[in-house]
Symmetry: C2
């Protein structure tokens, strides 16, 4: 911690942040990043110690959860972990939780998470505030929150791992399981600051709760999921079952809206891509003109936060390059007489938003901007 | 399907079930079990095609989700699946979703799931009815639903699997991942009927929706979880944070209430063990007299369903043997001047309940019996 404080305090604090404020950010960040040691912070510092109760009750017509699709897989005793005899299980199903407000007559909204995360992304923020799941419901939208196939409550096909364990396949043929690290994969890559433990002066993410975000990161089995990802069709089938929806996808899931719409163009009423890892392609168009024409019938919104040019700390393009890629995607949609637009809060004077924009301190301000776009563009 | 129908129709249908009713059960069961082939049933047969909307709105003071505890783990690039450089992640955290009713002043209830399942166990039933999560809230209880450490939204530590993939450890040192099969692990073992696809005439489980239950089954990483299971302490810490609770555990999680209470006896106000895989021990006491004395300060309820003597189809004791083990546990608690009792619905004339009693067609009747016990016994 000492080194980081010294390193940073040798630079003048940017903009209006005084030394005391900066130090408090750094101490919080150091605790959040565990740079003081491997000991876990006390329970009082956890989200459940700081849950905010809304001022008004939430009145729901209905709520619950269900699965979409799935396939039956015959597996032998060893592949099933030897809990019982050879049997069948279900794989590639998609878990969905939902809430429908009692006075809700707006278009259903589906909120899809990104890499190594789950539907939890859109619920209570790491510092205990309301997430987009509940906020959109309170604004009159029925809201559906899936876990991607291969993740969290959707599960994954364990067969390949037990096959490797039992010598049926080579260990190297077992897919790698992905996990985003706290310092580079999250803090720096999600643009909480220019380097681990150092925050942007204008950062909107509640960095004192970064350790709570770390807990949301869970094993990502996307390399064990078939191609095309069954989530695409599941999202389209879900949307058809609820008579059309606006599909909002984030990060790794940021291009799932366009993929799902291409799988079933009539299933959706609008698409929102929040900081997608890819829109078009950083190295040239991957969508054909025919695909662009299909997508151009739908209203499309793309959302990016601030501080895009900062180095990510992990392999791959910068967020500025991804922004530029999405801008060229918007131009292609426009050329096909479609309507796609960019929501870039800095252009509106809203600074410091991060990759985890749905958890940022101004997350409801950003939600309102998306809702405004839905109200104007989605019929 | 043909073979199973012929096999079964050669026996006279038991009790009041006529041939037509039996055939319709068998057809539904055959579809549910996929014995007609690997093709998935159509979307219309899925839970989201039959969701029941309650007659009155649900009014919540608050709702959301958070994580309890967790530990920081330093891992290298390969262990993290090569998404970024060496970094730290969190492992052994426990996800919890919750709802607090607006007029709720009753003791908080925690609902813990069993093997290869998640908190989804207690939500919307496979045939689209209200589960215990919402029902207990509607009866005035704040309700908290965790995913066990190592499962679903709680995630698991992927390191050991990537180590095996990369040749750092032997494949055989990689833990096996568990999955319950539909025909033996679920249908027969959960006592929907005496053999796969054949239902008990009095079965309370909505067997036409058995395939939807299959989708709830996801990889169980309990063999990759440290000992003692971090879920025990997380349950106790959760209970302390909400000023005490009644902890209800099911099946594999059925003895977690007593384990969590032994980790922190003052954290709980009551324990409910629903069809625990083990209470005391089928082969003699595993809890010492000192442990029994600690548990005897808490009101304890144990719940079992019907048709207990039916063969399970998987290794291990029958449910009747488990019932007997729990009866001897109750006797030990009584000998220590504690108050433990058995809720055995057949004794009240309620027949046909299964291992998935919280999803059975009379699930709210059973919930009412538990609530009655809480109201009388939990102070």
């Amino acid at each position: 911690m000492k080194v980081e404080c010294e390193q940073t305090s040798s630079k003048p604090p940017a903009i209006a942040y005084g030394v005391r404020r900066l130090r408090s950010i750094l101490v919080a960040a150091s605790v959040a990043l565990g740079v003081m040691g491997a000991a876990a912070p006390p329970a009082s510092s956890q989200t459940f110690g700081s849950l905010k109760t809304p001022e008004t009750p939430l009145v729901l017509k209905s709520r619950g959860s269900f699965f979409v699709n799935g396939e039956i897989s015959q597996q032998d005793r060893a592949q099933l972990g030897e809990l019982g005899p050879d049997d069948q299980i279900t794989i590639n199903q998609m878990y969905v939780e939902y809430m429908v407000p009692v006075d809700g007559n707006k278009v259903p909204v589906v909120l899809l998470h990104g890499a190594t995360l789950s539907g939890k992304t859109y619920d209570t923020t790491p510092d205990g505030r309301m997430g987009w799941f509940e906020y959109f419901v309170r604004q009159g939208f029925p809201v559906y929150v899936p876990d991607q196939v291969g993740r969290a409550r959707s599960g994954f096909d364990q067969k390949v791992f037990n096959n490797a364990r039992n010598g049926i396949i080579k260990p190297s043929d077992q897919p790698s399981i992905l996990r985003l690290g706290d310092k580079f994969g999250a803090w720096q890559n999600f643009r909480f600051g220019p380097s681990p433990g150092v925050a942007f002066p204008n950062v909107q993410f509640p960095i004192e709760a970064a350790w709570e975000l770390s807990k949301q990161s869970i094993p990502d089995l996307n390399r064990a999921v078939p191609f095309p990802n069954p989530t695409f069709k599941a999202l389209a089938d879900l949307s058809r079952a609820i008579n059309g929806s606006v599909l909002i996808g984030h990060s790794q899931g940021g291009r799932f809206p366009t993929e799902a719409a291409l799988a079933d163009p009539g299933a959706f009423k609008g698409l929102v891509l929040v900081e997608p890892g890819i829109c078009n392609s950083p190295s040239g168009p991957t969508y054909t003109d025919e695909q662009i024409a299909k997508l151009a019938v739908l209203p499309i919104l793309i959302v990016f936060g601030d501080n895009l040019a900062s180095p990510t700390g992990v392999p791959g393009p910068t967020w500025q390059e991804r922004f530029n890629d999405c801008a060229s995607f918007i131009a292609r949609i426009a050329a096909a007489k479609g309507k796609a637009e960019m929501l870039y809060p800095p252009k509106l004077g809203i600074l410091g938003n991060t990759h985890m924009i749905m958890q940022d301190k101004n997350n409801l301000v950003i939600a309102d901007l998306i809702i405004k776009w839905i109200n104007v563009n989605v019929k």
